[in-house]
Symmetry: C2
Subunit: 404 residues, 2 copies
């Protein structure tokens, strides 16, 4: 049975064989229940896959992470928020190594099996005194997934978590995930961290193939502000604790696994876009009828990241002239006379010409927290979906005052 279920109150510790822990180490301003250091732990070595920022200026935590996943195996991920560990010279690598080393000693796992992630201010060294104390305070438990999800947040307003499951060989296979990110968010990738766990039995090679393909249609299709962080990381662990035989592309359940992983990644990606800095609406841009997939993605991302489209949605304004502008500047092959546009499925343009619609009704529709923009290019069969958010005055106020 291929059905994929969403687990109530799911988290990264929903799959079997995972524990998490978190604490307040003092990297961020104190408030009751504040967390700024988290650990995600697999009871045994797990297959690991990762995708990382394309920014050439990158955190040393990312450097260490990439080095340690090269074996295809990992057992724990230590994450701090508050400080990005970027633009601090070689001290950044020493500090990331020391974090891994302290986790190794405390939990008795191999140094090379520990991955380090950091998010927060650029250009500030990690406060190692605080982090040493924080790591010493960490305790693991198999129901602390939600607290881990809180520990990784920076400017996020909400945690972003989900878990899904499907059946295989009479066992329940689960996939859990959590993410953070609300600014510096643009495809390839965002100030975005996402951690996904599964108890499926999958080789690291197949896991990497799955993650790359799915990231391209989920995490890499969101945009908050067009900026790309130095720290973006998505990591997936699969520890095989479900005790089934291996899931691989040779068996039909591979498609089920991909669909389940896609569901997790899409949910997390949309949650990040919805929680964009200063945002109150999720914008879903659906482009179909493109000549090829790349063109479909170019158009979808051009619309979802246009400041003028984002401010128009903020003002509940069905300003299709700006959408057409974004279509035309995208770099994709388009023919104005074959384009149709829909906002919340109300057709507002057909064959490149505006069509009559009840403007006040559409403005009313656009007040909802979900606005969809659909573009039919009329040239081929390719389709893509991108997600973004409205741009508000709060985005500007917030980012004028925040030192990253």
């Amino acid at each position: 049975m291929d059905e994929i279920s969403v687990l109530p109150e799911g988290s990264v510790t929903s799959p079997k064989g995972y524990k998490a822990g978190s604490t307040y180490a003092g990297l961020r301003t104190y408030s009751p229940d504040k967390r700024d250091l988290g650990i995600l732990y697999s009871d045994k070595q797990a297959s690991v896959a990762g995708v990382f920022t394309t920014n050439l200026v990158r955190s040393h935590s990312v450097t260490l992470c990439e080095r340690h996943i090269s074996s295809g195996l990992a057992q724990a991920i230590i994450v701090n928020s508050g400080v990005a560990n970027a633009c601090v010279g070689m001290q950044g690598l020493k500090d990331a190594e020391e974090m891994a080393s302290n986790v190794s000693s405390k939990f008795g796992i191999a140094f090379e099996d520990i991955l380090v992630c950091s998010t927060g201010m650029i250009g500030v060294e990690l406060p190692m005194g605080l982090l040493r104390g924080g790591i010493a305070n960490l305790n693991l438990d198999n129901n602390l997934g939600h607290e881990f999800a809180r520990a990784i947040l920076t400017t996020d307003k909400t945690t972003k978590e989900i878990a899904v499951s499907f059946e295989f060989e009479g066992q329940t296979i689960s996939i859990g995930g959590c993410a953070k990110g609300s600014g510096m968010i643009h495809p390839n990738m965002a100030t975005m961290l996402a951690f996904i766990t599964t108890d499926a039995n999958i080789s690291s090679k197949n896991l990497q193939v799955a993650l790359k393909e799915i990231s391209d249609s989920t995490f890499n299709m969101i945009s908050v502000d067009g900026d790309t962080s130095t720290n973006d990381t998505v990591l997936v662990l699969s520890n095989g604790a479900s005790s089934t035989s291996e899931i691989n592309p040779e068996i039909k359940e591979w498609r089920t696994f991909l669909a389940a992983l896609h569901k997790v990644c899409e949910y997390l990606a949309k949650s990040i876009a919805r929680d964009g800095e200063g945002a109150s609406k999720l914008i879903e841009v659906i482009v179909d009828g493109a000549s090829n997939l790349n063109d479909a993605r170019l158009v979808a991302r051009s619309i979802s990241s246009s400041s003028l489209v984002k401010t128009a949605v903020h003002g509940n304004d069905p300003n299709w002239g700006r959408i057409m502008m974004a279509v035309g500047k995208s770099g994709a092959k388009v023919d104005e006379s074959s384009i149709s546009l829909f906002i919340n499925e109300v057709c507002i343009m057909e064959g490149g010409l505006p069509v009559p619609y009840f403007r006040e009704a559409l403005i009313g529709e656009m007040r909802s927290s979900d606005v969809s923009i659909r573009v039919q290019l009329g040239l081929g069969d390719s389709k893509a979906i991108a997600w973004g958010c409205n741009m508000s005055e709060e985005y500007v106020t917030f980012n004028s005052a925040y030192t990253t």
Copy 2:
């Protein structure tokens, strides 16, 4: 003598042999002294060159313009603001042709020598009844350059005009220019119209070479919001009314002409960036030490168009982490450890590491209306300059309410 002087109160009618006219045709909301239709006229056929929007969705006014400059000759430019004549199907071409035809009849010049430009709302047909009346009302005079500059504005707060001159063969050669544009402004090109006149004697072929080269380092290096309009046009007329021999690349005065044209284009481009929607500051980004010119331009434009950099400048925040983020995501070859950063010439990073500086003093400096960001990449000899503006709450408020 190669000296280039700026003419006091210069305009597009400063060069010899040009007249202009303007009127209120009723395309925009009425206010006293409002203008929304303008004409720029050369007493005799002039050489013409133009560069146009790269947006695939483009105004039919642009289509007609491109067709009419293909002969290399033109005599008049008719410009309306308020309506972009874009996304209206083939009616847009008929309307642009009728505008040219009416100007042809009224002023007795050839249809093919008339260029049409439109700027304003997308998806609205030109109100031809109003435009016929407006064209009938136009009168030409050789001191109406300033009024023409007002007629082409949309959301601009100020007119943008300049004229410069230099001597050649005992005669004064003048170049005048005006421009409009404050939103949908991004390289290649902006919702930007610029009109440049000169009484120099230059072939249209050489004029086109000069305009292309200079646009790439001026108009194509500005960004307000990263969006690209359907209507961008820069046109240059040279009518030879200075009565000198031809200026061409074979004589040394060619460099003087290029320098003078560059001065006009750079002034207009910077004026557009400074008058960005909701902006109060001009940001000048200077990148040097790049491996090649393309990389220098990529980095400069990546910084000047980053929402996070623009909001930081708005908040007078020397947030160099965001500048480094923009350097790294630019697509250019960079090496973090050889980068130095300066804000208003205060060094804040050297060799990829932050250096101590008097933060409060720099914040004070950043309150001025001009903020410069200089990046030394330390890799080669190439240099580029880009211009942008701060992003303010007013930008969002304004663009949430305006239907383009």
